[in-house]
């Protein structure tokens, strides 16, 4: 993916850029709003990582509103040191697709960026069937089969698996699951997500020789067919 990174703090920018490059992405960097805006409108990117507070007269939200006004639909992840909910809402309202507060773990940022990048490509029509390895999910009849064997899932487990399958091959973090599957925006205090994933594993992986749901250390989970 080609990613534009607009962030004024050099340490954070360097660290994020390095990490993204390591993950195989191409990164263009800007350290102020003006340059960022220029690059965002003159070139095309798969995703933009945008710090909210930027020097140089144009702050993150302003930049975002400007490119959205020009019908630029590039997915944008807003980074901010402000965590208050109103700020989050303002970020999303201005046209942001995701919002991450500082300090953040790089794995969280990477997972979200990759999810955004894929979303940007757009799915070819609403799928009615998801397929990963031997795992098969029919979204209409709400049936799940692995290697032709029917698996009974609770509605929530179904949603969890659907989310993992839609993001197959990508890391999904616990927060992404909490937000994407449960639509919760709070800190669950304990390892609730781990418990639910492990329950799902009992049904999806346990009876079969190979595991599809993998734990990614310090990051989250990934559904992948090896």
């Amino acid at each position: 993916m080609r990613i534009l990174l607009v962030e004024d703090d050099q340490t954070v920018r360097g660290f994020v850029a390095k990490g993204l490059k390591e993950a195989g992405h191409v990164v263009d960097q800007a350290d102020n709003g003006k340059d960022g805006l220029f690059m965002a409108v003159s070139e095309s990117f798969d995703t933009i990582i945008l710090d909210r507070m930027l020097p140089g007269g144009i702050d993150g939200l302003h930049l975002l509103e400007t490119i959205r006004a020009q019908k630029n639909r590039t997915p944008v992840l807003v980074l901010s040191a402000l965590s208050q909910v109103d700020d989050r809402v303002a970020g999303l309202k201005a046209g942001g697709d995701d919002y991450l507060t500082k300090p953040f773990a790089f794995s969280e940022l990477l997972a979200r960026i990759e999810a955004l990048g894929r979303r940007g490509k757009g799915e070819t029509g609403p799928a009615t069937r998801l397929l990963v390895g031997g795992l098969e999910m029919d979204l209409l009849s709400r049936q799940v089969k692995r290697d032709g064997q029917k698996i009974d899932l609770q509605p929530r487990e179904f949603r969890l698996l659907e989310y993992l399958m839609r993001h197959a091959g990508q890391v999904v973090t616990r927060t992404m699951l909490l937000e994407g599957v449960w639509d919760y925006h709070f800190d669950p205090q304990t390892n609730v997500i781990d418990v639910h994933v492990s329950r799902l594993r009992q049904k999806i992986d346990k009876p079969f020789p190979t595991a599809l749901i993998h734990t990614v250390r310090n990051a989250g989970y990934m559904l992948r067919d090896e």
Binding site: S83, D86, P188, Q189
Partner: protein, 529 residues
């Protein structure tokens, strides 16, 4: 109060009344130029509220005394005067009737008869013919100047060698005869003099009383102001222990002093709260930071391989994540308490929300060998902040699960009563001592028995803030049925729109565990943040 300059700003020239004694003790001060001095002094007197109050008191006192005395005068002397006038008129009317009935002789006879029968010897009559000769009566001559018949004349007369005062009236009779009817009012004059003397003396005494009363008022007022002023001055310069002294009489001044003292108490408690919270913050953030620092330093000095180094760094990052979490929780609580979140309020259905929470946490409970019961309930509609209510319930469920004994039972239920939704999270866990219960929702508070479990002691502070934001209350108490464990009860107002019954009656619920200082320490953090 107007006589007091703002603290720390010395008054120009003569210090105002309330400060006189203080200022004189602070030693000589440079004299301002003459014009300024004179002007300030006059200004001070005009501006002295105590003097104004005293003057108003004295003036009012004397005015009312004057009104009172005037009334006495009018009621006695005035009444007597009016009676005399009426008597003279009645006499004259009777005499003129005699004249019409029997003519001159009958009238003369009547006058003589009357004079003979007059016991008090105060009646005066005189009838003269057109030439001025006396026909009947007890006056020697017609007094000069008495001509008009529509006026009452007051005369000095001398009769039988006695001098006296008389009210007389003249009446014309047909044929040029004239009649004079009067009353001797010597007694009234004496009474009048007596009364005047008395009233004058009374006036004098009233003035003395009024002035001394004014003086007392002024000194009372000044004492009060001085007490308040010196106390607040001491507080402004940092001595928070000062209080306004009470006279002990329970009067209005005492009540003002009490109110001020109460306010000072509260401020002092808030300050304590701030101190306590910032100490806790310092402690709770310093510990993980120190740990992280030590790990990193240790690794940089002693690590022998990349693996070891990496492990140390990873643990340090975890420590820093803990710091961030505490920090975020504190900010969040402060944000909630500031009411900033009210803009995110929307209609929501509580029972469904709780069902979902139970589903999310049920798995966790099960994994730890516990059961989470969710009693099905009617839909409960309310107006609130969904993520915050979820967070609060999550904190309660997390505690219940965390502090449960193996094989324990946790239940989550909700009901509505008197405009309040009541969410109860009940556990059969280790419980808390009564003294700890009272402090449970203080920031950073963790019971002794909780030291070994993870957590930072901010969970219940957030629950409390959420309750308050929703016009409710949070109570944590021993289980109602007496079994081991706790009932954590979260009350939320069930108003269904932004303007519907803004403040429900929560006063009737005495919280088992939300003492004043808790609220205050939260206020404290809020104001310090």
């Amino acid at each position: 109060m107007t006589s007091e300059p703002p603290p720390g700003q010395p008054p120009l020239g003569q210090p105002p009344l309330g400060q006189a004694s203080v200022a004189s003790r602070t030693g000589p001060r440079p004299k301002p130029p003459r014009w300024a001095r004179r002007r300030t002094r006059r200004g001070d007197i005009l501006r002295s509220a105590s003097l104004r109050l005293a003057a108003v008191y004295a003036v009012l006192f004397m005015l009312s005394a004057i009104v009172f005395m005037s009334f006495i005068w009018w009621a006695t002397i005035g009444l007597l005067e009016r009676e005399v006038d009426a008597a003279i008129n009645a006499d004259a009317r009777a005499l003129s009737e005699r004249w019409t009935e029997g003519g001159l002789p009958a009238l003369a006879d009547t006058i003589r008869l009357r004079l003979a029968g007059n016991v008090d010897d105060d009646a005066l009559y005189l009838m003269i013919d057109p030439a001025g000769a006396t026909i009947a009566g007890n006056l020697a001559t017609w007094p000069a100047g008495v001509v008009r018949s529509d006026l009452t004349y007051q005369l000095r007369i001398s009769r039988d060698g006695m001098r006296g005062l008389a009210d007389v009236k003249a009446f014309g009779l047909p044929g040029g005869y004239r009649l004079l009817v009067g009353r001797d009012v010597r007694a009234r004059a004496i009474l009048k003099r007596l009364l005047t003397d008395t009233l004058l003396w009374a006036m004098l005494m009233v003035s003395v009383l009024g002035l001394s009363g004014a003086f007392v008022v002024r000194s009372l007022f000044r004492r009060m102001v001085r007490n308040v002023a010196s106390t607040t001055r001491a507080i402004a310069s940092g001595d928070l222990a000062q209080r306004v002294p009470l006279s002990g009489s329970g009067d209005e001044f005492d009540r003002v002093a009490e109110t001020i003292n109460h306010m000072l108490d509260r401020i002092a408690r808030l300050m304590d709260g701030v101190r306590q919270v910032s100490n806790s913050i310092a402690h709770d953030l310093r510990t993980p930071i120190t740990r992280a620092r030590a790990r990193l330093e240790d690794a940089s000095l002693h690590a022998t391989g990349t693996a070891e180094m990496r492990a140390a760094i990873e643990r340090a990052v975890t420590d820093l994540d803990g710091v961030t979490a505490v920090f975020e929780a504190l900010l969040r609580i402060a944000e909630i308490e500031a009411g900033a979140r009210r803009s995110a309020f929307a209609e929501l259905e509580l029972s469904g929300l709780l069902d979902d929470m139970a589903e999310l946490y049920g798995a966790v409970a099960e994994e730890r060998g516990l059961t989470l019961e969710r009693r099905a309930a009617e839909p409960i509609r309310l107006y609130g902040d969904r993520p915050l209510i979820q967070q609060a319930v999550a904190n309660l469920l997390d505690n219940a699960i965390k502090f449960s004994r193996p094989d324990g039972r946790v239940s989550l239920s909700a009901s509505v009563d008197a405009g309040l939704a009541k969410i109860v999270v009940r556990d059969g866990g280790i419980g808390m001592a009564p003294s700890e219960l009272a402090r449970a929702s203080e920031r950073f508070f963790r019971a002794e028995s909780a030291r070994s479990t993870p957590g930072s002691g901010l969970g219940l502070s957030l629950v409390q803030a959420v309750a308050q934001l929703h016009g409710g209350q949070f109570v944590i108490q021993p289980r109602e049925d007496g079994a081991d464990g706790l009932d954590a009860v979260l009350f939320l107002s069930v108003r269904t729109g932004p303007n519907d019954a803004a403040q429900p009656a929560v006063a009737r619920m005495e919280p088992a565990s939300s003492p004043d200082h808790e609220q205050e320490s939260r206020d404290a953090l809020l104001s310090s943040s």
